[in-house]
């Protein structure tokens, strides 16, 4: 199920425009929009960048397998341009790296089909895994099937199955390096086994990593094969585009997938302190509200996020309360939220909501059971960048030994390490702090409005992503899964 949510005008404008102009022009349009901050928030930026990359790849002159290095280079260059445009929007780099991963994987898949890759694993198996995903999906999540079951992307998995992944991972906690041989065998036999997907994925990834490490330096994935066999230089563009489209679907579905975890984290009669107003967070709470009765303490996040936060709390004027929500809440169900449900506010569905000023966090903290936050970007070492004030809240929670849980789509996970966290933080308009007309203050005091905060990994207890839950210490595994070991320097 793709939620047809409304985009902000600038994003809608761009998404429409991008299909009709040349990729280079589209890049410049996006550059302008990003610079003017017409497209903000990680989600919208991610959507715009994905769409741009789709356009870029479909117009790129490198279409053949043998030219894949050229395509990778072009995409990387584009990525560098975009990252330079808005260096603090780390999600740009994430998306570009994901797309680079898609291209590399296509190369690898095709090479292995040809029989050149002498490694025991490859695209075949990862395909099989998607079939497995698909069948698992159909049971739990009928509306949200992946668009292309045979795309050969091992990463393309969604909610229902991920849940199980996450569970199994949580159970084991320790990362067990899979034995490739073993897994191959197991994978080829046990198709319907849902846990197979993950193993296979790791398997496929490993092969991918090994392949890359061998292939990339000499830059010739297509040349070696040519010497051996009557080589068909396959057109990989179509597959790459499929891969990017899947990424777009992932961006649409992410809230739903994250929300699927809500019931395991929010329990009856709990008091949950919430910082942030992101749609992911909202969907998470709404989903929980279907089954559970709990209290939400919203932190106002003045001044940058206070309006959005209030909107979450405010009774809806333009959206009516979803019909039958109340009844449904009595009969627990596993269906995804409808669009109307996503848009309903917490108060409208009967969740007791308390709005507190930022200064009262410490005072209220002792009363809450857990703290829930959205995030702007998650970094490799488990730290994150999010709404200003989050660090104080997290530190305060730590003082009270209250768990801090962060919900986020996996697309926000960045492989970067925060060597200089300050440089990743955006500073916003000073006028949101104080009116500019007030000359007595404006002329005499320095005024600063950091819109983001750096929260070190120690202060976060758990990350819930659309591919499962992770502790900050284990995030690096997810980074490897998402981006492989290829090191694309975009900054």
């Amino acid at each position: 199920m793709v939620v047809a949510d409304e985009h902000p005008p600038a994003l809608a404008k761009f998404l429409k425009a991008v299909t009709s102009v040349k990729a280079d022009d589209a890049t410049e349009i996006l550059t302008g929009l990003l610079k003017r901050r017409e497209i903000k928030t990680s989600r919208n930026v991610a959507k715009a960048v994905t769409k741009l990359l789709l356009r870029f790849v479909s117009q790129n002159r490198h279409t053949k397998l043998s030219e894949s290095q050229g395509l990778i280079k072009d995409v990387r260059d584009l990525g560098r341009t975009l990252v330079a445009t808005q260096p603090r929007e780390l999600v740009i780099g994430n998306i570009v790296r994901r797309v680079l991963g898609i291209i590399r994987e296509e190369c690898h898949d095709n090479n292995s089909i040809m029989g050149f890759a002498d490694l025991p694993l490859g695209g075949r198996l990862s395909r099989a895994s998607s079939i497995g995903d698909e069948s698992a999906d159909l049971g739990s999540n009928p509306g949200s099937g992946t668009a292309t079951p045979f795309s050969g992307r091992p990463f393309s998995r969604d909610g229902g199955e991920e849940d199980i992944d996450a569970m199994s991972r949580r159970k084991s906690k320790a990362y067990i390096p899979p034995n490739p041989r073993d897994l191959t065998r197991q994978g080829s036999i046990a198709l319907p086994n849902p846990s197979f997907g993950e193993n296979n994925l790791q398997h496929a990834l490993f092969s991918l990593l090994r392949l890359q490490s061998e292939e990339l330096p000499n830059d010739s994935p297509g040349l070696k094969p040519q010497s051996k066999e009557p080589f068909q230089d396959k057109d990989i563009r179509g597959d790459v585009i499929e891969g990017i489209k899947e990424l777009m679907d992932e961006l649409e579905l992410v809230d739903e997938q994250v929300a699927a975890h809500s019931e395991t984290h929010i329990h009856a009669n709990e008091i949950v302190m919430v910082l942030g107003s992101s749609p992911t967070l909202q969907a998470f709470l709404m989903k929980a509200a279907i089954k559970r009765k709990f209290t939400v303490v919203m932190i106002e996040a003045y001044p940058n996020d206070s309006h959005a936060t209030q909107d979450v709390v405010r009774a809806p004027s333009k959206f009516t309360t979803p019909t039958g929500f109340k009844q449904l809440s009595k009969n627990p169900r596993d269906e995804p939220l409808t669009t109307a449900e996503m848009k309903a506010t917490l108060t409208s569905v009967g969740v007791e909501t308390i709005l507190i000023p930022d200064s009262a966090v410490q005072a209220v903290m002792s009363r809450v059971n857990k703290v829930l936050m959205g995030t702007h970007v998650i970094l490799r070492n488990g730290s994150m960048i999010t709404t200003a004030g989050a660090r104080t809240v997290a530190r305060c929670a730590q003082g009270h030994s209250i768990p801090v849980i962060v919900v986020s789509g996996v697309y926000k996970l960045s492989p970067l390490y925060p060597f200089d966290p300050d440089s990743m933080l955006e500073t916003g308009e000073s006028s949101t702090v104080i009116g500019w007309a007030d000359s007595e203050i404006v002329g005499n005091a320095g005024i600063m409005n950091p819109t983001m905060d750096f929260v070190p990994g120690e202060l976060v207890d758990h990350y819930i992503t659309n591919v499962g839950g992770y502790t900050p210490q284990n995030l690096f595994k997810l980074v490897e899964e998402q981006y492989g070991s290829a090191n694309d320097t975009l900054e």
């Binding site: 005008p9 040349k22 003017r36 000073s430 404006v442």
Partner: protein, 691 residues
């Protein structure tokens, strides 16, 4: 109304899909029509000067892009070649630009009014448009304002403009010094009922409001605390209004004031008072400094240096410090808060930079102190210098041990000798043009290095200059000292604006006086630009009705204007009668509309007589005018003789007036005789009198 964004996307889909709705257009006036940035603007137009190391025009264009504008008409005059070149090379001319930009140059553009008239003729405007000048810095979104404007237009057909205003406290740094305007707003602070441009010097100047105003709206807000950044949403009906009122120069003082004063137009203007966001206009060096200050301190976010609007590489660090890559700082150099340093700049040992803006490729020596200094590109500053809040333009060289005080301006390529001390009021330039020599006083300083240096000083001895100095402005010698000249042909002393200014200063001014002033200016302007008499009649009628003036006032104004015009035209005795004849003949329909009775004739002649007092050849003129009026049947015997015999003008006879009257003696005598004889030999006698 469909949201503008929708239309924007329609445009971007290329020429194949013609947008059904009209494009959102914006008109940029990339000329300030004043000389406040002299001498810097001798070499570069104001809109291309760097502001936080990005040309000012970029901020304006980004602001329009943010507002969803789809077509930009950029009017320029001074340095139009540079502006055209800049726009052509910029990203705004690429297909990816959010709008189409057209640079229009016309040599006749001398004021905002001229631009509007040009616009009216060009027929490029189809819909309501955004009117800004080329030096706006703002991060507000126009979309909401446009929406409001459109809604208002539907409700009130007469609404022709929405102006964006910002409240500001009286002693705010960004408030333009020496400029003040009073806005009278209605109850809800939405409609602008009246606008009055105030001069600092005459603070006890009585405010005149149209009588109807109080009747129509019993509650009014009088607000003087507005920062008017001249961002207007203007109806397409406005350019024709400018054509109609050819003497309107300035969009505020003339247009806004005029349109609101005149009941006949029946037009309404609304204000949008900003509640959030930043908007400012670089009107003077003082506001330039203030806006730079705001940009550095992130008030204009996202338009701050680290957004890198112009392909820079600025990075932001805490304390509002912006550094581009490849900046070389000595270990012991200190960079304090609110500083901007461009690429390739090197800073020497123990140098302190606090709150300064430094461009690219500058070399700052050792032990230098820069406090709030504005340094542009390629500047060399020697060791042990100390610079205050001054501007150092591109390629300037400041020798070792120099001191430049706050407020000084060092223009392009100027070399300041070792050990100099540059005072607050100094302005140095290498440029010297003939024009400047005419209007300003120059001290030429020849330095040992044979680099000539010209101290630029504008010698317009206006009291307003004094005023601006008194205001304690950062840059006291704002050489364009008189705001009212903003729209003038700055070197032409004969412009209506100046004369108007003169009249404004007369302390006790009644409504009649104000009518007289307006009518006089409009007529004289019309005569000079040889507009058709129909337009003059229309104009005058409009003025008369709006001011509720008597015909006697109309006659007085006409007499004054006509005489002033004739006097200015006459160069020798020979062409006196020719000029008089031509003028009066041209204005026949006008005179016909103001003379009804004998007493009117008498009065007109009286006014003419009064006006002629003290003028050269007054007697001859009196006779010529009187005769012409008589010949054209504007005056009959009775009127002429009554005037003659009454012996005193409306204000009593003075010796000077008697002198004027005596000039017409021969003619009157002749008329008297004619009256008595009732002879037929008119032609002959006329010839006699002609000599």
């Amino acid at each position: 109304m469909a949201p503008p964004s929708k239309r924007a996307s329609a445009k971007k889909t290329g020429p194949l899909e013609e947008a059904p709705e009209a494009l959102l257009q914006a008109v940029i006036i990339a000329d300030s029509f004043n000389r406040r940035f002299r001498p810097i603007t001798l070499e570069k137009p104001r809109c291309l000067l760097p502001l936080a190391n990005t040309p000012i025009i970029e901020y304006t264009l980004e602001f329009l892009a943010l507002g969803g504008v789809e077509e930009v008409l950029l009017y320029c005059h001074a340095h139009h070649d540079q502006i055209t070149e800049y726009i052509r090379e910029s990203k705004w001319s690429k297909p990816s630009s959010p709008f189409q930009i057209r640079v229009i140059y016309s040599p006749s553009i001398m004021s905002v009014g001229d631009v509007m008239r040009e616009l009216d003729q060009s027929r490029l405007i189809k819909e309501d448009f955004v009117l800004v000048s080329g030096d706006i810095v703002s991060n507000i979104s126009l979309q909401g304002i446009l929406k409001e404007h459109k809604a208002r237009r539907l409700a009130d057909k007469n609404c022709i403009m929405t102006s964006v205003l910002r409240e500001i406290s009286p002693d705010h740094d960004s408030r333009p010094r020496g400029e003040n305007a009073l806005f009278v707003l209605d109850q809800n602070r939405e409609r602008i009922l009246h606008y009055e441009y105030l001069k600092q010097s005459d603070s006890d100047f009585p405010l005149l409001l149209p009588r109807e105003l109080a009747k129509a709206s019993p509650t009014m807000h009088f607000q003087q605390n507005f920062l008017d950044c001249c961002i207007d949403i203007v109806s397409f009906e406005v350019p024709p209004l400018f054509t109609e009122n050819f003497d309107w120069q300035h969009s505020r003082k003339d247009f806004l004031h005029g349109i609101l004063m005149d009941e006949l137009y029946g037009k309404t203007v609304y204000a949008h008072i900003l509640k959030s966001g930043y908007a400012g206009r670089i009107q003077s060096l003082q506001t330039y400094d203030a806006i730079l200050h705001d940009i550095t301190r992130k008030w204009t976010h996202p338009f701050s240096p680290d957004t890198n609007l112009n392909q820079q590489t600025y990075k932001y660090t805490r304390g509002h410090i912006y550094k581009e890559s490849k900046v070389i700082l000595a270990q012991s150099a200190v960079i304090k808060d609110n500083s901007i340093i461009g690429a390739g700049t090197s800073v020497g040992d123990k140098t302190i930079i606090s709150g300064a803006t430094i461009g690219r490729d500058c070399i700052i020596g050792k032990n230098v102190e820069l406090h709030s200094t504005i340094v542009w590109d390629n500047v060399v500053i020697g060791d042990n210098c100390s610079l205050g809040n001054c501007i150092v333009a591109n390629d300037a060289y400041i020798g070792d041990d120099s001191i430049v005080e706050s407020g000084a301006v060092v223009s392009y390529g100027v070399t300041i000798e070792k050990g100099s001390r540059i005072p607050t009021t100094a302005r140095y330039t290498k440029m010297s043009t003939k024009k400047e020599k005419d209007s300003g006083r120059f001290t030429q300083v020849i330095h040992s290095k044979t680099k000539s240096l010209i101290e630029y000083e504008d010698s317009e001895d206006d009291e307003d200059e004094q005023r601006e100095t008194d205001m304690g402005a950062l840059y006291p010698p704002d050489d364009e000292s008189d705001y009212s000249d903003i729209s003038d042909f700055s070197d032409d002393d004969e412009t209506p604006g100046k004369r108007k200014k003169g009249h404004t200063r007369t302390s006790s001014e009644s409504e009649a006086d104000s009518f007289f002033r307006e009518a006089y200016n409009s007529l004289l302007g019309a005569l000079k630009q040889s507009h058709s008499v129909d337009i003059m009649i229309l104009e005058l009628n409009g003025l008369r009705m709006s001011a509720n003036a008597e015909f006697s006032e109309v006659r007085r104004a006409t007499a004054a204007a006509v005489i002033a015009y004739i006097v200015s035209k006459i160069t020798s005795n020979e062409n006196t009668s020719k000029v008089v004849d031509a003028t009066v003949e041209k204005l026949l329909p006008l005179f016909n509309r103001m003379i009804f009775e004998v007493s009117d004739q008498v009065e007109l002649l009286g006014y003419i007589q009064t006006e002629l007092v003290g003028k050269e050849r007054s007697g001859t003129l009196m006779q010529a005018v009187g005769m012409k009026l008589y010949n054209e049947d504007l005056c009959d015997d009775e009127g002429l003789l009554t005037w003659w015999n009454e012996g005193n003008g409306p204000e009593g006879e003075t010796p000077e007036m008697a002198k004027v009257r005596d000039g017409a003696k021969a003619f009157v005598k002749w008329v008297e005789e004619q009256d008595e004889d009732e002879d037929s030999e008119e032609e002959e006698s006329e010839e006699e009198d002609d000599e």
